[in-house]
Symmetry: C2
Subunit: 432 residues, 2 copies
């Protein structure tokens, strides 16, 4: 395929995507396939000769779509949201075409510099302490990681490296293996300090944890993967109080801030803490500016060496929504969750299982775990809406997360109608 054909096929793909997203709620949100369904639909080996684009594109509906869980359907209420917006998709097309690998400043200065400035923009939207902003006299800054898991691992490795350096500074003769085997990482059953846990969107008391960590020289990493996006709204920003005690912090704009996956934003108070843990400098990656102290080489901030031009997505989204547009988006999701909460609370057969702080509602039928498990199974087998469960204090609980960009009040009410209808069936059949 040459550029001329790409002009034609690319435009067809744009229409295919717009059609898919405009009509997504007509599709069953959860697929009706059995494990192994796909293998029998396509050949066992790659073709020897090239096929045409028509051959490939017609297989999207035949092979792929029957097995897709439609995360962007307004009837998708499972897990947590994953972001999807048109500005982010346009930026990602451009990122793919430029296709640079930004492991060093010189490998593509724009890729590194836009990332640093976008991390500052976002840090300022969250009103992070100045220490975390690169464009100040502080020693911190931000980096885009792939996922929160990677950010947490990077924080853990940097913490270990800092702890070893601290101990070696006071006792230089001590063997390093003897140190690392004695280090302790403190966590809850959700790991590190978490703002908005996955099961129930619960919040750790970081204003209590923080001073202890600081006094004991324990690295404090705060993960707000889902909830972090909401901190751009002044009314939710108090949830982040205590950030001033943290050594590192991350959340996922690819969850709830309209920046398509992957984009997990991480800030550190001291750049040198990260770079000390990961530095690698072969000759083929050296460049004139790296000793000047003026440039950032992001390969020292992460596990991978290669990296995409992901800040373009942030730039397009922040500018085309504006801070107000992003705040409106967060508030709308929280309102929809509150609307669902009210519907649940108005029905005596149900109970709310955890505080509804943001866009997640944890609820259940009053009664046994069994009756709730059966209800959830019926809901998902209907394929009209999709939810997943969690376990809270031994209880089987249903999670209702407002996820899609296009979810409206009518979808929430339709979902509740379906849930109550199935609940009636289940309650007639089962003791509860």
């Amino acid at each position: 395929m040459d550029a001329t054909e790409f002009r034609r096929r690319g435009k067809e793909m744009v229409d295919l995507i717009a059609d898919y997203l405009e009509n997504i709620e007509q599709r069953p949100v959860y697929p009706d396939v059995e494990p192994g369904y796909l293998r029998s639909l396509i050949p066992e080996e790659a073709p020897e000769e090239s096929e045409t684009y028509e051959d490939v594109v017609k297989d999207i509906e035949r092979v792929i779509m029957p097995g897709v869980t439609h995360w962007h359907s307004p009837y998708f209420y499972a897990y947590f949201p994953t972001a999807n917006s048109f500005p982010a998709m346009l930026a990602d097309m451009l990122s793919g075409a430029i296709g640079c690998i930004g492991f060093s400043w010189a490998a593509s200065p724009a890729c590194t510099e836009l990332e640093t400035v976008m991390m500052d923009w976002l840090g300022k939207m969250l009103k992070l302490p100045e220490d975390f902003i690169a464009g100040t006299h502080g020693q911190g800054g931000g980096v885009i990681q792939g996922t929160a898991s990677e950010a947490t691992l990077v924080a853990l490795l940097a913490a270990r490296s800092r702890a070893v350096r601290m101990i070696l500074a006071s006792d230089p003769q001590r063997p390093e293996t003897g140190i690392t085997s004695k280090l302790v990482a403190y966590s809850s059953d959700q790991f590190c300090a978490t703002l908005g846990t996955t099961p129930s969107c619960a919040f750790d008391h970081i204003t209590e944890l923080g001073p202890i960590c600081n006094a004991e020289k324990i690295w404090m990493h705060i993960d707000a993967a889902y909830a972090g996006s909401s901190f751009i709204c002044p009314e939710f920003r108090p949830l982040l109080n205590g950030i001033e005690f943290a050594d590192s912090f991350n959340f996922n704009p690819h969850k709830w801030l309209l920046v398509n996956f992957d984009c997990s934003t991480m800030w550190v108070r001291k750049r040198s803490d990260l770079i000390g843990a990961f530095k690698m400098d072969p000759l083929y990656l050296k460049h004139d500016h790296q000793e000047s102290g003026l440039v950032t080489d992001y390969r020292h901030w992460q596990i991978p060496l290669g990296r995409r031009f992901r800040s373009l997505k942030m730039w397009f989204v922040f500018r085309m929504y504006g801070l107000k547009g992003l705040q409106d988006y967060i508030r709308k999701h929280v309102e929809l969750a509150k609307e669902f909460e009210s519907l649940v609370r108005a029905d005596q057969r149900f109970e709310i299982s955890a505080d509804v702080v943001l866009g997640l509602v944890c609820f259940r039928l009053k009664g046994s775990n069994e009756v709730n498990e059966t209800l959830l199974k019926r809901i998902n087998n209907g394929r009209k809406i999709h939810l997943v469960p969690c376990q809270l204090s031994g209880q089987f609980v249903l999670r209702f997360a407002v996820c899609a960009r296009t979810t409206e009040s009518r979808h929430i009410r339709e979902a509740w109608r379906l849930i109550t209808q199935l609940a009636e069936e289940v309650m007639q059949e089962l003791p509860h």
Copy 2:
């Protein structure tokens, strides 16, 4: 931006991309900017109100392009290639629109199943031993990682986990920390067993290393990040001999197989070795099929939890090029490298510094490191072509890697003309 505006803007972006790639060789391959150039070109904070798409798109040429190193210019010969093809870009657009997060089979069955089958397709193209193919009675299979660094880390963690289990099996009372601090990882200065090192594309003798690893029950991981793509050609497949001793193997189709970044393909001989190291099973990720043994939940195979629908890129590329088209592509790059090698060998002032096996030529002026460092600086300051150096046995060496999809003989000859012209200048100025 709604779907209607996306139809218009998406088509404009398709044209912008086609224009960029069709005219890329008119641009200086290496940017002429100083560190910090970008920050002054854009505001210090995100806008409160939304901006128009026109505002954003006109800043691509003003803000971004002056700082881009053009990896897909036919005059880019630095590092190693990063893939860029139209079928991969089309697939990536679709992947962004579907926007599912494939951490479990149920989270989007098509995402998991296409990946498993594409990894089989690619494994068969490489003629991997059947053990590594999922659609057989073997215990292995493939997974797409983000980068070779992540694949190596995953292999290392899986190896550690297996070693600990082996030792505990014979001595169950032994404390685990006492075991891990005694484990040893063997590597060269390029790490693990490598086929095609980054500095010079050198090959480890895996037919010698393999039997020792197997006899000593050492996990053998083979990294062929760049070279791996060439193994789809029968004439280069012998370079992979010894793979039968490996526990895990990876290479990067996002380097040299026309699948845009990120796509690092990794195979393991025993799925259970990986899953044992990474398993995580909270209730909100459980699904009906996971205990059946029929499905793959890829979150157990990697560091991140979330993952994109990356196998679509492989599917589009393999079908639209066909195996023969991909082989032709590899062979063309190797021929271009051989052409460059001949030009170097025909000039008495230069020498070839390492065997030219694939698409990389390591060469230098006969003489001091200083004269070669000066030559490279002149080359890159000219911004017409871009190369990076490496160090081989204490010598400063220039690396010439055939990178872009559109590189032709005329670009190679033009590059050589420039290099020899600058070499003459340098040799007149400096003792050598």
